[in-house]
Amino acid sequence: MAWYIIRRILQAVPVVLGATLLIYALVFLRPGDPIVALFGDKPVSEAVRAQIEAQYNFDKPFLVQWLLFLKGALTLDLGLSFSGQPVIDLIARAFPVTIKLAFMALVIESVLGIAAGFYAGIKRGKLFDSTMLVVSLLVIAVPIFVFGFLMQLVFGVKLAWAPVTVGGDASFTRLLIPAFVLGLVSFAYVLRLTRTSMIENLTADHVRTARAKGLTDGQVNRRHVLRNSLIPVVTYLGADLGTLMAGAIVTEGIFNVPGVGNLAWRAIQQGETPTIVSVVTVMVLIYVVMSLLVDLLYAWLDPRIRYA
């Protein structure tokens, strides 16, 4: 087990290196000139331009820029943003908010999705099942920002039950509606996965055996059907946390949440290489850690899976 974890962490090193190199290349290839953007429609003095290029290493070859970034990253010095703050500070402020938002979304989507999927699977073909299928289809088909603006308008502006936007105070109650919106699409997938998986397992041999033992329906469904049905769902949820953090760009924009999505959006607009690459690097790390956690969870859910 320990050896397995070490191996997985070692595997993550080239993944992170490759990802930063790729992002660096993309930002480097981005057309236009961030320094021109800094000056707006005013002429840029050559002397000033040279100074700024030197500060952000824009004057160096691409690979040197990347290596300098890596060197800094190892010592947790991710450079400065255009507004003169250490990028590490920006990240330290933004990530907790987004992680909170993403976990809330994850909890909401998994609890609601598994519960609804469980019930729909048992009552296959009945009214609840059909309703859930239509609802999930709708949620998957309609773009997320439509739900975002709709919920903001209804619950925030019209009913005034919830704050319209989150702003500085990213407390649990204020993040609730954004988290719900963020988790909505995944909720539909979790529901469908759980349902299909449940239906499959309901006719499995070990379930028949359990029934033959004389266990009640409820016991069978919970202990034997649901538990086995959760394996694909857990895989999905683990990978989804990364997606939720990246998908937060839209939700964070609508609800003005000062998280990673907003930070990345601003940085991309301004061509602020150190910030973009740092944010993406942290996201890659989260992906790697999450997929490791998911793999370890399998063993707990399904004793047939063993790691060596």
């Binding site: 500085g168 907003n262 930070l263």
Partner: protein
Amino acid sequence: MRTRRTALAGIALAAVASLTLAACSSGGDDEGSESTDAVITAYATEPQNPLVTTNTNEVGGGNIIDLLYAGLISYKADGSQENEVAESIESEDSKVWTVKLKDWKFSDGTPVTAESFVKAWSFGADPDNKQLQSYFYYPIEGTDDEGSTLKGADTISGLKVVDDKTFTITLKQPESDFPLRLGYSAYYPLPESAYGDINKFGEKPVGNGPYVLEKWDHNVEAVMTPNAEYDGVRKAKNGGVTFKFYTDPDSAFSDVQGGNLDVLDQVPPSALTTFRDDDSVQDFESPGSVNSTITIPESLDHFAGEEGNLRRQAISRAIDRKTITEKIFDGTRSPSTDFSAPVMPGYTEDIPGNEVLEFDADAAKKLWDDANAIAPWSGKFQVAYNGDGPGNKEWVEAVVNQLNNNLPGINAAPKAFPTFDELRTKVTDRSIGTAFRTGWQPDYPSIYNYLGPIFGTGAGSNDGDYSNKEFDGLLKKASGALDDEERYQAFVDAQAILFKELPAIPLWNTNVSGAAGKDVENVVFNWQNRPEYQDITKK
């Protein structure tokens, strides 16, 4: 193990349920603040640079800087000027200006002296300090065309401290309305404490203006409270101003509707058709100072000399500005009648030749045919624009359609660039090879600012490389004019030349379209299209 899992799910469910209930009960929000002590919240964007007067060149930081500092003069809402820190700004020849200061203090208690100004400007102009506002010092002796101090010097040689309360400014050439520039943020003073670590200072700047910065919570908000030391013309009438930072003006508009935000100075495109009739907000509309133009460089094929003038006039007359401003911009733009804007002092509709801004398909076709008689048209006419600016794609396509309809054979087409800086890079290095969209936001309230920097020979923002000696002469005359009437007449004569040659084709001016909460009073938009934040109060 099994029970634990079920229990966990149960706890999570219960938690979600209780959160939902909590969200319901905490609704309604913290209303009920009254009187003049109310803090005003306003839409803004996170400053892109440290909050340093010489380094803040965009609106997000500019909003804050303008409330934290007081310059030698300040602008009233209509663009007229009044002295602020300056006791007097005088000159006999419009070239050497003597500035006398009032007694004034920074919010940390240190006095504002002649040195506070001279040192700050020299700091801003020194390329080693890489300040983004250096361009603004270019009129002063001792700087180059981009406003940087000359090689080897770390101070601007045209600035001389006479005593604690007096300094002189020597210009490269006489400029009678030079003091008008001095209300701009690049000309604010800085306290001595700024120079140690300028980035650190930019985190928590110390100013001499109507407000002091309590807190800059990055990407969230900037909280400002009135400055008790301040005794100038822009005294705070409210209990403070908090700029809330947004990445999406749509969510700011929702916040105004929901009563979470008091003032929004830029209604998002999605709400433009509805915000006038929206019962949950107050709507504001007034003419603005930002203009939009299409620049057609003389270097393009068929656009030089007399042929070029005819073609540019034809294109200008083939554009139906009124229809575009109504259909595409929902009336939030007004068709241009000159090269500046209606809010500028000295603005007039009576400029000889400005009928080329009126739509007339027949006249356009005739002008185009006249040009074809000189040399037959060939090739394409492309209009380059940046796709990241809202509405750009729509209006460029509309203009191109109108040109194709009204000028047969012109073969007009839009040319998209993904981002503003990409377009500007091509424009600046002169490799663009097409007509392109341009626009101007004035730095100080004078028509000169719409003419000199854009159309003067060799000027910094002269993207089309326009050059006309007569025009340059009139600009010089305007600069040397001793009274307003003479100066305004020179602007009229100079624009009459531009209307003949149309180095840029004026399209429209952006109107102010703002929104405010129901309980907000005294919202006035100034010549910069920004609210006068210090005057806003709550009922």
